[in-house]
């Protein structure tokens, strides 16, 4: 399939599928079409060529980048979670059953007792988990996340990775985009390298290679193996960038 904004192609000749129970990471430079691909998967963007086919009755949910959230918006954790049940209720008040469902999801994600808190009053990891909890409130079979570790510290990144791994183990299929090759992509069972089209698709050990990365990012990168896992080093930083005065 192909996607375009204002007649400018941002994705072309993209052809891949996600099987039930898969955990896929989409990597690529800024402007490579990662978010567009997610939008196409979520059906909020129509391809200009080709089709996106979902299995009949597929339940999917989306977790946006936390950096796009308005943290000053007056909503509590419980309000964030229950706002998604927009089709089932006519009366706005949260029913006892909905509250119970929401509390179960909050407990599952280690957020028990935080339902009444304003979203700004939470730690970075808790904030990310609130939005994953909102997605899980839909009981999705496919969870789609846009840059789930963008702008978070190392501890929160580990927390998110473990949580996603547990969700995957419980049978949820996951697709996410990330810039984080070492901290996130290298830990996934399958990654797709994207730059307007699919450059490579497979297991990290096969995909994270200097040639694939250079083709994807347009910059030289070195790959070391540490503890059986690939570690990407941006060699351009050593060869092309002048050292900053005073920094040794």
């Amino acid at each position: 399939m192909a996607c375009a904004y204002d007649n400018a192609l941002v994705l072309q000749d993209v052809n891949f599928d996600i099987a039930e129970g898969e955990f896929v990471g989409i990597v690529g430079p800024s402007g490579s079409g990662k978010t567009t691909l997610l939008r196409a998967i979520l059906r909020t963007m129509k391809p200009v060529h080709g089709t996106i086919t979902h299995r009949d009755g597929l339940r999917f949910a989306y977790v946006p980048q936390v950096e796009t959230v308005d943290w000053n918006f007056p909503v509590t954790v419980m309000e964030v979670i229950t706002m998604t049940r927009s089709r089932s209720k006519w009366w706005p008040r949260t029913s006892a059953a909905e509250k119970k469902d929401a509390e179960t999801v909050l407990e599952q994600l280690g957020l028990a007792g935080l339902g009444g808190r304003h979203i700004r009053e939470l730690s970075g990891g808790q904030q990310q988990r609130v939005f994953i909890a909102r997605a899980l409130f839909h009981r999705p079979e496919l969870l789609v996340l846009d840059e789930p570790t963008s702008g978070v510290d190392v501890g929160t990144r580990h927390e998110v990775l473990h949580l996603l791994s547990d969700l995957h183990d419980s049978g949820v299929s996951i697709v996410l985009t990330t810039h984080d090759l070492n901290g996130l992509a290298a830990h996934l069972p399958r990654i797709v390298c994207l730059n307007k089209t699919i450059i490579a698709d497979g297991a990290p050990a096969d995909i994270i290679t200097p040639s694939v990365l250079e083709q994807t990012y347009g910059a030289p990168m070195e790959v070391l193996i540490h503890g059986g896992m690939p570690v990407v080093i941006d060699t351009g930083m050593h060869t092309n960038v002048k050292p900053i005065r005073g920094v040794s």
Binding site: T44, A61, P64, V69, D70, F73, V75, T82, K89, H118
Partner: protein, 290 residues
């Protein structure tokens, strides 16, 4: 013992304006209008549409002038004009190349200019321009009470039925779209409700100050709570209080009703700002002691 006659005197003085039908009508319309603007103001403030409220009220002026010149019923003429302007603003502002602020500027100023030109050309009395710009309590009729009550009931019903969709579309429109919420329809509905609100409240508050009533109670309520649901009842209560008290102050202080209503509302904002700013400073000071 002298306090009893004094209290009776004050009570009689406060009750005095209620002997006049125009004042009773004005108080009813101003109170309901305050509550209505307070309710819709929550969406206006949280979506960052304050300028749209301001612009729409100016656009409706064109419709009010056209209906006066053509002899069409005010609610029909200004109503259609307002809804068309609201839809146009919504549509143009979605085109990224122009931007919402420029779209509002084009539609509303052109519409306002049409109104002024029509009233000048066809020699409508200066009074009618002033009445539309600044509002006029004397012009409030039973039809205005019915109109503002009907629109209020309609808006309350829409907000109750679509509460979660409206909250979702306001807080997180991208994710709401994924969850099959028709965000564009909700935005359109909001513009239509805003246009109707401005039309039915304009006769008392006037074009120039109506946007303040859409913004101040909602902004004040935001300082008082961190819950969207609570904002939806605190803001209308503040708006209604401003309408009611403002009308009474206007009579006793011999000031314009619209100005008094907005000044009461602004005073409420200042008081809450002082209280919550002071509380915030205490909280920060306590953190330093930990």
């Amino acid at each position: 013992m002298t306090s009893v006659p004094y209290v009776a005197h004050v009570a009689a003085s406060l009750a005095e304006p209620y002997e006049y039908t125009f004042f009773r009508n004005g108080v009813v319309v101003a109170t309901i209008a305050g509550a209505l603007c307070g309710l819709l103001g929550v969406f206006v403030v949280l979506r960052g549409l304050s300028y749209i409220g301001h612009g729409l009220s100016h656009a409706v002026f064109g419709g009010a002038a056209a209906s006066a010149v053509l002899g069409i019923n005010y609610f029909v003429g200004a109503g259609l004009w307002g809804i068309i302007s609201g839809v146009l603003i919504g549509r143009i502002s979605r085109r990224r190349i122009i931007g919402a602020d420029a779209a509002i500027g084009v539609v509303t100023t052109a519409s306002f200019a049409v109104g002024l030109a029509l009233l000048n050309r066809y020699g409508q009395a200066k009074r009618s321009i002033e009445a539309v710009l600044f509002g006029s309590v004397l012009g409030v009729k039973t039809a205005d009470i019915v109109a503002v009550a009907v629109v209020s009931l309609l808006v309350v019903a829409v907000v109750i039925v679509l509460y979660r969709k409206m909250l979702y579309a306001t807080f997180d429109p991208d994710v709401a779209r994924v969850s099959s919420v028709r965000v564009e329809w909700i935005e359109l509905l909001l513009m239509v409700m805003l246009s109707l609100t401005i039309i039915v409240t304009m006769r008392v508050i006037g074009t120039l100050l109506i946007s303040a009533l859409l913004v101040i109670p909602a902004a004040t309520s935001r300082m008082m709570t961190n819950s969207f649901a609570k904002m939806l009842w605190i803001s209308p209560v503040l708006g209604a209080l401003a309408g009611f008290l403002g009308m009474n102050f206007a009579y006793h202080l011999d000031t314009a009703a619209s100005a008094s209503i907005i000044l009461v509302s602004a005073a409420g904002f200042i008081v809450m700002y002082a209280i919550f700013g002071f509380r915030g400073r205490i909280r920060i000071a306590q953190l330093h002691h930990v």
